[in-house]
């Protein structure tokens, strides 16, 4: 039972992070390898807002979320806008370079020590006992709930609202979308904003649960196989991929070797790339040259 709970929590983490990868890739065909760092930035944003609004935790969390969304749009506006039309490799490398820059800058600003934003805001994180003898922390429970909420919201946004439909159109055929009066730069910036917002939200929740230091970016990188296994341009795929990767990881750690933790997602990824490179639900596409 505990294993099932662990899988659910880990899958939620991976799914929440990988929806950011999927959103950015689906709309602008760019793989953002800085997602882990952006997620961490969101969590550090909470550290800052928590010290500003220590009395009102709700305000602090909302401000951190807004900050993350603004960061995403800013990243697009300042950096990625210049990379549109460049080779895929250049865009991916730009995100990698951004990740390195952010990592250094974050250590400079907030130091490398472990931070506990939950304690700063006065949240406590009691253990909840579930039927069947499994236990998990409140924030983990919140994480699972948040995952469902985010995916429902994204589904609603992408299929029911004007901007969501514009976003899908831009992803499908950017030139045609531009012809029909869709502002591509605005749509891309919005996609980056939402992606970093969901990433930041994940970062905030993980930071509240387990503390915050420079290792968080690794979780972001580990979540990325989940997105790829499901298919880089499919949100349903990201969800399934997250469940598959999380199941494999939890089971292998439990039954084989705890050291495997860092490598399991990549093993699953390699297997998937050999069998079906475009993922479970992804669309087969003409893959690009360097």
């Amino acid at each position: 039972m505990q294993l099932v709970v662990n899988i659910a929590v880990l899958a939620s983490i991976y799914a929440l992070i990988s929806c950011g990868y999927v959103l950015i890739y689906r709309v602008s065909r760019v793989l953002s390898l800085a997602h882990g760092e952006l997620m961490m930035l969101g969590a550090y944003g909470l550290v800052t807002t928590a010290s500003l609004f220590a009395a009102q935790p709700g305000v602090a969390v909302a401000a951190a979320g807004l900050l993350a969304a603004a960061t995403g749009a800013l990243v697009y506006w300042v950096l990625m806008r210049r990379m549109t039309g460049e080779a895929v490799l250049a865009a991916v490398l730009a995100t990698i370079a951004l990740g390195i820059l952010l990592r250094g800058a974050m250590v400079l600003i907030w130091s490398a020590q472990v931070q506990h934003p939950a304690r700063m805001l006065g949240f406590d994180n009691p253990v909840v006992a579930l039927p069947g003898g499994a236990r998990l922390s409140t924030i983990s429970l919140l994480l699972v709930g948040m995952n469902a909420l985010v995916y429902l919201a994204l589904w609603w946004f992408l299929t029911r609202t004007r901007y969501g439909i514009a976003m899908r159109a831009a992803g499908q055929n950017p030139r045609l979308a531009a012809q029909r009066g869709i502002n591509l730069h605005a749509v891309y910036a919005l996609a980056w904003g939402i992606a970093v917002f969901t990433g930041g939200l994940t970062g905030i929740l993980i930071a509240c649960d387990a503390g915050l230091d420079a290792t968080m970016a690794t979780i972001g990188l580990k979540a990325f196989p989940a997105a790829l296994v499901g298919g880089l341009d499919s949100l349903v795929g990201a969800l399934c991929g997250a469940v598959i990767v999380a199941t494999a990881e939890v089971l292998l750690i439990h039954y084989v070797d705890p050291l495997l933790s860092d490598v399991v997602p990549f093993l699953v990824l390699t297997a998937m790339l050999i069998v079906r490179p475009w993922g479970l639900f992804g669309s087969r596409e003409e893959l690009d040259r360097v």
């Binding site: 991916v92 952010l102 250094g104 990325f224 050291l259």
Partner: protein
């Protein structure tokens, strides 16, 4: 190389020549003399820097062959280096093997891994290929870690300095000679490959695969060959690196190292061996330059003394920033800048836009 009044090459022999004017010959001779004289003039710190740079040159040239010429992305360069280093560490620890066994064994491991890294490239392109090499990087590092913990070397494998012809290689100068031969050899091998059939096939692959195939180039074979060539060189680099450090540990081969090598290729300029060398020099010396700058600043402004503790983070941030600046403003890299400077002097007093992609 374009000269003031045009190309003067009239035969194939001239076209494959590496240095073709007297000035170039003199400059190349002077450069080689300076390289040979360096260890007798430099202090140990500079010598260590030179050694690191020469090692980086080997890796950067190897990656340049793969990425800059054959057009295959690899984010697993550090994994290949780790494979060579672990191969050396394991053989010398378990069998007490000498460098004459570990170096070829590393090369063989590298070649094998090159095939494994290269196999996905037959099906995947671009982004997906980059991702698969990234995955293999983590798998190789995991296997290395696994060996370390299983055998109880959890902090790393210590390697004795190798003996070559009765000499024990411990001195920085002796290593300098070894690395100079390795780097010079790698550059020469790369240049020779590139002006022969193999190199032309790689360039054709980079240009467009379908056309390359129509021209009679065996695409899978040459793709694999590019991976094998690059990873063999890289694994041998890993072997030398392990001996030089006297110590092998998975931590030394992080993803950041892979990215550094990719940065060397990007900053140096895609599709240029000279660019790979310049990129290697730039990226290797960059952190020391930053450290020096930070030292200057904290000396001038005593209230900024705290910076000295943050050198590591500043390095990271500055490195990312420089990489972004090159990607955005100078995609041709240092080689592109060099070409432009050259064109400026050649054309003076006239001005002409640099030939895009021209020259070597």
């Amino acid at each position: 190389m374009p000269h003031a009044s045009g190309y003067f090459r009239t035969t194939y022999g001239q076209d494959t020549r590496l240095v073709d004017t007297r000035t170039q010959r003199v400059a190349a001779g002077a450069f080689i003399c300076a390289l040979i004289a360096l260890p007798w003039l430099a202090n140990p710190f500079v010598l260590d820097l030179a050694n690191q740079t020469l090692l980086a040159v080997v890796g950067a040239v190897a990656l340049m062959l793969l990425t800059g010429f054959a057009g295959q992305i690899s984010l697993g360069h550090a994994g290949l280096m780790a494979a060579g280093a672990f191969c050396t560490g394991i053989l010398s620890k378990e069998l007490g093997a000498s460098i004459w066994l570990t170096l070829p064994a590393s090369a063989a491991t590298g070649a094998l891994l090159g095939v494994i890294f290269g196999l996905p490239s037959l099906r995947l392109r671009g982004l997906y290929l980059a991702v698969s090499t990234l995955a293999l990087h983590f798998i190789v590092i995991y296997l290395g870690h696994e060996y370390e913990t299983r055998r109880g070397f959890s902090t790393g494998i210590v390697i004795d300095p190798p003996r070559v012809f009765g000499w024990e290689l411990v001195d920085g100068r002796a290593w300098y000679v070894v690395f100079l031969i390795a780097a010079g050899g790698t550059v020469l091998i790369a240049l020779n490959w590139l002006r022969s059939r193999t190199g032309r096939a790689w360039r054709a692959l980079h240009g467009r695969e379908a056309v390359a195939e129509a021209l009679g180039i065996h695409v899978p074979l040459y793709k694999l060959l590019a991976f094998v060539a690059s990873s063999t060189l890289t694994a041998m680099l890993g072997c030398l690196f392990a001996y030089y450090r006297g110590f092998v540990s998975g931590e030394a081969f992080s993803l950041f190292l892979s990215i550094q090598y990719v940065a060397m290729v990007i900053i140096g300029g895609m599709g240029s061996i000279a660019g790979a060398v310049m990129g290697a020099v730039f990226v290797t010396l960059f952190p020391y330059g930053i450290e020096w700058l930070v030292g200057l600043v904290s000396e001038a402004l005593p209230e900024m003394r705290g910076l000295q503790n943050a050198v590591f983070a500043i390095n990271y941030a500055a490195f990312g920033l420089v990489m972004i600046l090159f990607l955005v403003f100078e995609p041709q890299g240092l080689a592109g800048i060099w070409r432009r400077v050259q064109a400026y002097f050649l054309m003076w007093p006239f001005k002409q836009k640099p030939l895009s992609g021209g020259g070597k």
